[in-house]
Amino acid sequence: MVPFTYARSSSVASAVQTGALHISSQSEEPGTAFFAGGTDMVQLMREQVLNPSHVVDVSALPGISDIVAGPAGATLGALVRMSDAAEHPGVREHYPVIAEALLASASPQVRNLATVGGNLLQRTRCGYFRDVASPCNKRQPGSGCPAINGQNRLHAVLGTSEHCIATYAGDLANALLVLDAKIRIAGSRGERQIALRDLHKQPHDTPHLETQLAPGELILAIEIPSGAAARKSHYLKVRDRATFEWSIASVAVALDLDSFGVVRDVRLAVGGVATTPWRLPEVEEALHGHVLDSGLCRHAAELATRNAVSHGKNVYKIKLIQRAIVRALEETGGLA
């Protein structure tokens, strides 16, 4: 670990001020890192993948660790523990995709410590990113991407660039994406709200810039609208190991069928196969207004990978994600 200063903030205002202060006083990377659950961040710091000069502990900030979840909408404070959100009755009843995605994430021990705000910013599991003796454009811009022609069985087939093919590893964000969630953010210039779909950035030629968050900005809460599709939502995760493992393909579905089985509303997102949480509007469009049956599901799923690019060992993900989409739709729509 590289030496750093540590400060514990007691209010959102002071946290973002401290963050902003260090940005202005020290313009060079890496500046300030906010610390809450720390489940991944501590590992990354110990291996010198992340080397913040200042760590601001936000784990005790008041007012951002509550869950409100009911038929009219939900708010998850950024400091809500993954385990608390997964077990909340309102979340389970009205937004099952969230509970399912969380329960499919990590282990009970990790979920008891990790926060939902931090989880949205889960860093990639790319082995080259995590090994400082290897080149990596995300960790060290311009050093190269050994994954493109190397060990890339777990890497992305959607949203890649010639600079980075690292997979976005989280689950929760995929679930929130199909609920059209928004996030509330605090910064030194005040609060703002953005759609979750705008949070993550594709790698392009700047894979080290992963989100729209400005330096020193802090996620305060996740706002989730309710609806019939949210109530009938589902998360499917496919992985090498039965549990405590990242996905090789996952699908979030929110679905509303009318009484004839016609798709009134559908939202789909995939994980484990893309560089960011990945919504599939073209698949949604193909399903909309049609009677949901297996043939339609298969047809729609094929559209998901029209622009997929594989790099050798990850080619199987194209077939896998199509099948996972079909399975998730069938399970959600009562066809399985």
Binding site: G150, Q151, V238, D240, R241, T243, R327
Partner: protein
């Protein structure tokens, strides 16, 4: 004869382990302890042109930074006799003695500081420039070279033949299969990372080290530092899993000892999880060709097995990959060949079931393929080729209950419910498959010594410099001692893991119970004779024992034994056997495999402790499950590095991966191998599991995967 041997007694060291009182190497804390961190090479071949440690030396808390520029030159005397745990030839890494780089991750410096964090940070400040050389980081089987004369002496030679011309017989055979099988580089990933605490005090060196062989750590320090054996003591009462990774004395032990002498204070050096992938060994990547030819009735006419494994550029690691093929089945014509590809990597080392697990994977999948081709039940095919005598050297077995294992195992598992056609069984949406495989492993016995001491409080302490990495040496030896002495368990204490104790060979190769057991028994018998001679025949049980000892004028009575095998190892083939059955569920869309049941029937001679023995076997099943479905280093052929060198990406099974595990020991004992009647069990436990699962996957799906691990990507293309 006895009541304790054969009883399912719980671990005598269990309470200490679950309450945290068991002290592991890194937990010893001599006064003034300091902490070390390793600087590693980031290139895989070449030399260091420039190394600058000034920034590191100035970092907070740093006591010293050692590199090849300022490290003491060590004698590194040649071996008088190469220890059995060393690779068959070559020269171990001489740490910080020159500027040469042999592999990425090689230790090229060590930093000592007041805290671990300070040492690690300072290590990252050492600036290194290299002159890279052409590196051999690609496993290119064309570069494979036949194993050496030294390897041949250990039965790991480049070629072995049985009967006539195997190639001609294969050519002529009525039914044949010819397959290529790949087993990746695998890492032990024991829970406890390797750690060494070294302290020099008044010319005496004490080392607390995670090791399976304290005596060898002492001998290596004597050889490397040119010091006398009586000035070194090595202690290690507990090992948190090792699986073969702690047989050798790795370079970091030398680094800790060197650093401690340099700073004049005790030093702790604990490897990080990532460093374990470079600073210790691993199961080598091995590719094999198996060609089987048979008559229509299933009798084997030809068996050709060719193995190409990886080794480092500086040491020849040859293992017993082709031993199982040489002994498992009767076959008229057999030929094996063994080659190694030297690469810029750290040297491989034994990993549970070394060689045998690898050879059996290829052989037993090939047998399953042959059975399918013959439309013969896989068990029938094996029974038809049962070897009445060992085909290797044509020796009689010391014992062999393999036929019982097939019969009893099949019954327990419900093999008769298997329909032979692949893809013919289902559970809901899931494809169901049943598979089986034979397991064999050598069952050696080594010389060993032990002492037994009657203390003034009436307790008998029995000692040997062996180890307990998890199989239950403490418990089994306490049982043997208590039975021999006729004492209840609480009056007997077994102690191990101290180089001042009577000599023992390595705790590995399934040898401990068969070797240390007889030594313990003989020491206890000698003690009984001594007590009887000094204090009277039933003094041990007399209520006035304490008075008797005192009046004899001593505080304790001690006896010693040196036990060793006779020439039976040259006249008999000594092996343990097993038959493994597995049931899998495969998702037909995703290719995900879940193992619902594993059942194993074992012939391991007499079982000293069924509870511990079962633990051994289910541990082996879980290790084999990992080998079959999850484990494998993602080796980057350009960088010469493991891209998944951590426990989040190098997958081992978690509880949810494990279904029902069933273990049965077929009755038997082997008095030829050991007076206790026991045979080795530990290595056997992992053998045969991966091929049983691979065969079950084929039965479920009709897809034959010949490359481990069987991950969804390898199945989904065919589903």
């Amino acid at each position: 004869m006895s009541s304790l041997v054969g009883s399912p007694i719980s671990r005598v060291d269990g309470p200490a382990k679950v309450t945290g009182r068991a002290t592991y190497a890194a937990e010893f804390h001599p006064d003034g302890l300091t902490y070390a961190a390793i600087v590693e090479s980031s290139i895989s071949a070449g030399s260091i042109s420039h190394i600058d440690s000034t920034q590191a030396e100035r970092a907070p808390g740093v006591l010293t930074v050692l590199t090849f520029l300022n490290a003491p030159k060590l004698p590194y005397a040649p071996y008088k006799q190469r220890p059995a745990v060393e690779p068959v030839s070559g020269e171990a890494l001489r740490v910080l003695q020159d500027s040469e780089i042999k592999f990425s991750g090689q230790p090229i410096g060590v930093v000592v500081a007041h805290t671990q964090t300070q040492a690690e940070y300072a290590a990252s400040l050492v600036r290194v420039r290299y002159v890279p050389a052409k590196s051999l980081t690609h496993f290119d089987s064309d570069r494979g070279v036949p194993t050496s004369e030294a390897a041949a002496k250990k039965g790991r030679g480049p070629e072995a033949r049985q009967g006539g011309d195997a190639d001609e017989a294969f050519h002529q055979a009525a039914v044949k299969i010819d397959g290529h099988y790949v087993q990746p580089r695998e890492h032990h990933n024991a829970m406890e990372p390797h750690a060494t605490v070294a302290e020099w005090k008044d010319g005496q060196l004490t080392i607390w080290d995670k090791t399976q062989w304290v005596d060898n750590v002492r001998e290596e320090m004597v050889r490397i530092f040119g010091i006398s054996a009586d000035s070194v003591r090595v202690i290690n009462p507990f090992v948190g899993g090792a699986f073969g990774s702690s047989l050798r004395t790795w370079p970091h032990v030398t680094l800790a000892v060197m650093a401690s002498r340099q700073v004049g204070r005790p030093v702790r050096l604990e490897l990080t999880r990532r460093q374990l992938y470079y600073s210790t060994g691993f199961r080598p990547h091995t590719e094999q060709r198996v060609a089987l030819g048979a008559q229509h009735d299933g009798h084997l006419q030809a068996h050709i097995q060719e193995a190409i494994g990886q080794t480092s550029t500086y040491e020849e690691f040859a293992e017993a990959t082709l031993d199982a093929p040489a002994v498992t089945y009767a076959c008229e014509n057999r030929r094996t060949s063994y080659r190694l590809v030297p690469m810029n990597t750290n040297t491989p080392c034994p990993m549970r079931g070394p060689g045998h697990a690898t050879g059996l994977f290829a052989q037993e999948v090939a047998m399953d393929e042959l059975a399918a081709l013959l439309k013969l039940d896989p068990i029938q095919l094996r029974l038809r080729n049962f070897a009445e005598r060992s085909p290797k050297k044509d020796l009689p077995w010391s014992s062999n209950a393999l036929q019982d294992c097939y019969r009893i195992g099949a019954e327990r598992f419900g093999w008769e419910h298997r329909t032979p056609e692949p893809r013919s069984m289902r559970a809901g949406r899931q494809l169901v498959g049943l598979g089986m495989a034979t397991a064999v492993n050598t069952a050696p016995r080594y010389p060993a010594s032990a002492s037994a001491t009657l203390l003034a409080d009436g307790t008998v302490v029995v000692r040997s410099a062996t180890s307990d990495m998890g199989p239950g040496t403490y418990t089994a030896m306490t049982q043997v001692a208590a039975d021999t002495l006729g004492l209840p368990l609480p009056r007997v204490r077994f102690e191990l893991g101290d180089s001042t104790f009577p000599k023992a060979e390595e705790h590995g190769g399934s040898t401990t119970t068969a070797s240390i057991g007889p030594a313990v028994r003989e020491a206890c018998l000698a003690l009984l004779a001594k007590i009887s001679g000094t204090l009277g025949s039933s003094a041990l049980f007399a209520p006035d024992l304490l008075d008797k000892i005192r009046s004899a004028g001593s505080s304790q009575i001690e006896a010693h034994s040196d036990s060793k095998p006779g020439d039976e190892k040259d006249t008999y083939a000594m092996y343990s056997f097993g038959v493994i059955f597995a049931e899998v569920h495969v998702d037909p869309d995703f290719g995900t495999v879940r193992v619902t049941r594993i059942s194993g029937a074992y012939d391991a001679g007499r079982i000293v402790n069924p509870k511990l023995a079962r633990s051994q076997c289910i541990g082996g099943m879980i290790g084999g499950l990992g080998m079959a479905l999850l484990e494998g280093a993602e080796w980057d052929t350009r960088l010469g590095r493991v891209a998944n060198a951590n426990l989040a990406e190098y997958l081992v099974p978690v509880c949810a991966d494990i279904g029902e595990l069933d273990v049965i020991f077929v009755p038997g004992e082997d008095k030829l191998l050991s007076p206790l009647g026991v045979k080795g069990l530990a290595e056997l436990g992992l053998c045969g599991v991966a091929p049983a699962i691979a065969n079950a996957v084929w039965h479920a799906t009709g897809v034959r995967v010949r490359e481990l691990p069987i991950t969804p990507d390898k199945l989904i293309v065919y589903l």
